[in-house]
């Protein structure tokens, strides 16, 4: 039984569909938080995980809220702080830990590390490390979806910093010209590594870039799961209707350094304080209590269950073998 099923919806308040989104969303956000905490704060420090570690702490509502609005046929192109959508699509935490540990059980069988993973069978295109490279690729995915007569959309995720790259502009422009079904999802977490948004772009909002390409753009409270989900529904409805791409700018904050080695001393202290009050997980929980959807006791049980699930997953990953060096030369070509 998954932890999500532990919570029985209570009648009243939010419409039943929203209540369901809240329950599922809370579970996936909590799972993402727990998995990433374990990676960043424990396994990385123990030396069990090598290489770069980038987490989406504080931004969980974006990948979870958006992917909960997607159908399985919709194709997701995540960025490096979007682990939640892998869980929504059914990837197990065990495989994610194995991925981070360079084991055969990881999504890339040890060929790549950390969030650089994907699974075509689940309609998740692998993260592309070059920022914004996913934007032209997502445009091509959308082109194929339309070509194949599917009523599906591509969701393309990126950060605020990525919108400075030429690829972003080429991809968005091409998608706009072709009126392709793409939803562009920006996590504006205010920083790109150490560079604040005002050093990244001359306009105040990423959404301001939308009109330049003739596409609708909206600013969303990226720390409110239900708001993100609703905006994603609007965006997909637009994209599915044949009217072309849609840009969602989810305002949020990166509640960590850029990566596990970065103490982020460049972030003013009051920003941490301000944004920690807006943590999307407690925020959703308060709303659920307020609406009579769940009790604190149920949340405690949920978090305990998520921790147990993660313990098990770590153990599985640690038992997954390392790849055999004799496979080094495989799969360069078909």
């Amino acid at each position: 039984m998954s932890a999500a099923e532990l919570i029985t919806p209570h009648p009243g308040g939010l419409a039943s569909e929203q209540a369901e989104v809240a329950h599922r969303g809370l579970y996936y956000m909590s799972l993402m938080r727990e998995v990433e905490d374990r990676i960043e704060r424990k396994l990385y420090r123990q030396g069990k995980i090598l290489g770069g570690v980038y987490v989406g702490r504080g931004q969980e509502a974006i990948s979870v809220g958006t992917s909960l609005a997607a159908t399985p046929e919709d194709v997701l192109l995540p960025s490096h702080r979007d682990m939640g959508l892998f869980f929504v699509r059914g990837v197990t935490p065990a495989r994610v830990f194995a991925q981070y540990m360079g084991r055969v059980g990881g999504l890339t069988r040890g060929r790549d590390g950390n969030m650089h993973m994907g699974d075509l069978k689940l309609n998740i295109i692998s993260i592309i490390s070059a920022m914004a490279a996913c934007v032209p690729v997502g445009t091509g995915v959308a082109m194929a979806l339309r070509y194949q007569g599917k009523n599906a959309v591509a969701f393309c995720f990126f950060g605020d910093g990525a919108t400075s790259r030429g690829d972003w502009h080429e991809g968005v422009n091409f998608a706009a010209v072709q009126k392709l079904p793409v939803v562009f999802v920006c996590n504006n977490n205010q920083y790109a590594y150490s560079t604040p948004v005002e050093k990244q772009m001359g306009c105040a909002n990423v959404a301001d870039r939308g009109p330049a390409y003739g596409i609708p753009a909206e600013i969303v409270d990226g720390n409110d799961l239900l708001a993100v989900h609703e905006a994603a529904q609007r965006a997909t409805a637009h994209a599915r209707s044949g009217r072309g791409p849609y840009l969602m700018e989810c305002k949020s904050f990166r509640m960590t350094g850029h990566s596990a080695h970065d103490a982020a001393d460049y972030v003013p202290k009051d920003l941490w304080d301000q944004w920690s009050k807006l943590d999307p997980i407690p925020r959703l929980e308060s709303k659920m209590i307020e609406q009579g959807l769940a009790t604190q006791g149920e949340f405690d049980e949920l978090h305990a269950r998520v921790r147990a699930e993660v313990d098990e997953a770590v153990a599985w990953a640690e038992n997954s073998p390392y790849p055999d060096p004799s496979t080094l030369l495989d799969d360069v070509y078909e």
Binding site: R111, D119, S126, A133, Y147, E170, D331, E334
Partner: protein
């Protein structure tokens, strides 16, 4: 009626589009205008906008979108208007397309066509041979046909292949060479070189437009009693190292010829391969004839001095034959 090199590519594309509804074309000015070199003239009328996609001037978007569509099961053929501008889509090719299969088992069945090469007074921005940027990137296949037959057979194989293929078509050959092609469907396998001339004394290993330079040199050397063998590599990655070694073993003398500039050119890699594998068969130094390490100059006397030609080949071949 003989078919030109450009017509051969065109026929190959056309037949593959008729054969497989998943094949589509994407590039700048390829639809209404029919392409800068008219390779795709008439395709829009026949196959429609869905399968012949005119794009903005966005090489990275052209390549990136091709990769995205390829991952979803289509077989896009992207056109770079000139191979020189492929650098604007470089990251998508070398950092994403090339690594997909290795990283996450995802095939990227795309072809990137790129008109390359000098001798057409295109100057430094419209004459380059950028194949080596890609030959040295594991995961990419690189093709450079010299004949109309190979151009048609290789474009078809490239489209049917499940890996990303860069298809360098030489602009100077487009309308200069022609031959009778067999009727009906035929392909030329990727990764296989072709012995285009048999000889006893000396091997010239080359590709692309330089195959014709080698042939001219060989004919002119014949009356002198110098019997030259010519190997056309056709595919540069993966390289047909067995064929390279075989001709070297046979003639024991090797001249490497390419239009690309020298440092980091394919000749260096071929030299290393020959040294490692067939050193004991060689009766002379391995020689290179390549363009010098400069941009491709514009003015005719400069460009002539830049490009390898039969004279240069003959001179080196005589020397090596005497050695």
């Amino acid at each position: 009626m003989p078919t030109t090199y450009v017509e051969a590519i065109r026929e190959g594309l056309w037949e593959e589009m008729e054969r497989d509804p998943n094949v589509l074309l994407i590039g700048e000015d390829i639809g209404v205008y029919g392409g800068a070199f008219k390779v795709t003239a008439g395709f829009l009328e026949k196959f429609g906008e869905k399968r012949v996609v005119d794009t903005p001037i966005s090489e990275s978007a052209i390549v990136g979108a091709s990769i995205g569509a390829g991952l979803m099961g289509l077989r896009p053929v992207a056109e770079m208007q000139f191979s020189d501008f492929i650098s604007c889509g470089f990251d998508q090719i070398v950092n994403f397309a090339a690594k997909c299969r290795y990283r996450w088992n995802a095939p990227v069945p795309i072809v990137i066509r790129a008109p390359s090469g000098g001798g057409i007074h295109g100057g430094p921005f419209h004459s380059q041979n950028p194949e080596m940027w890609f030959v040295r990137t594991p995961g990419l296949k690189v093709v450079a046909p010299a004949t109309a037959y190979d151009a048609k057979g290789l474009i078809k194989s490239a489209i049917r292949d499940n890996d990303p293929v860069l298809f360098f078509e030489h602009k100077g050959l487009y309308r200069r060479i022609k031959e009778d092609l067999p009727a009906g469907d035929f392909t030329v396998p990727l990764g296989k070189a072709k012995l285009v001339r048999k000889g006893r004394h000396l091997s010239i290993i080359t590709y692309g437009a330089m195959v014709w330079v080698a042939l001219e040199a060989a004919e002119r050397l014949e009356p002198e009693g110098i019997d030259i063998e010519i190997l056309d590599l056709r595919t540069l990655a993966p390289l047909d190292r067995d064929a390279v070694c075989e001709t070297a073993r046979k003639t024991s003398k090797v001249l490497l010829l390419h239009e690309d500039t020298q440092t980091g050119g394919l000749a260096g890699e071929l030299t290393a391969t020959l040294t490692e594998r067939v050193w004991e068969y060689l009766d002379g130094p391995i020689l290179r004839i390549t363009a010098p390490d400069t941009p491709v100059p514009f003015s005719p006397p400069l460009e002539e001095a830049f490009l390898p030609n039969a004279e240069k080949v003959i001179e080196k071949a005589r020397w090596l034959h005497r050695y």
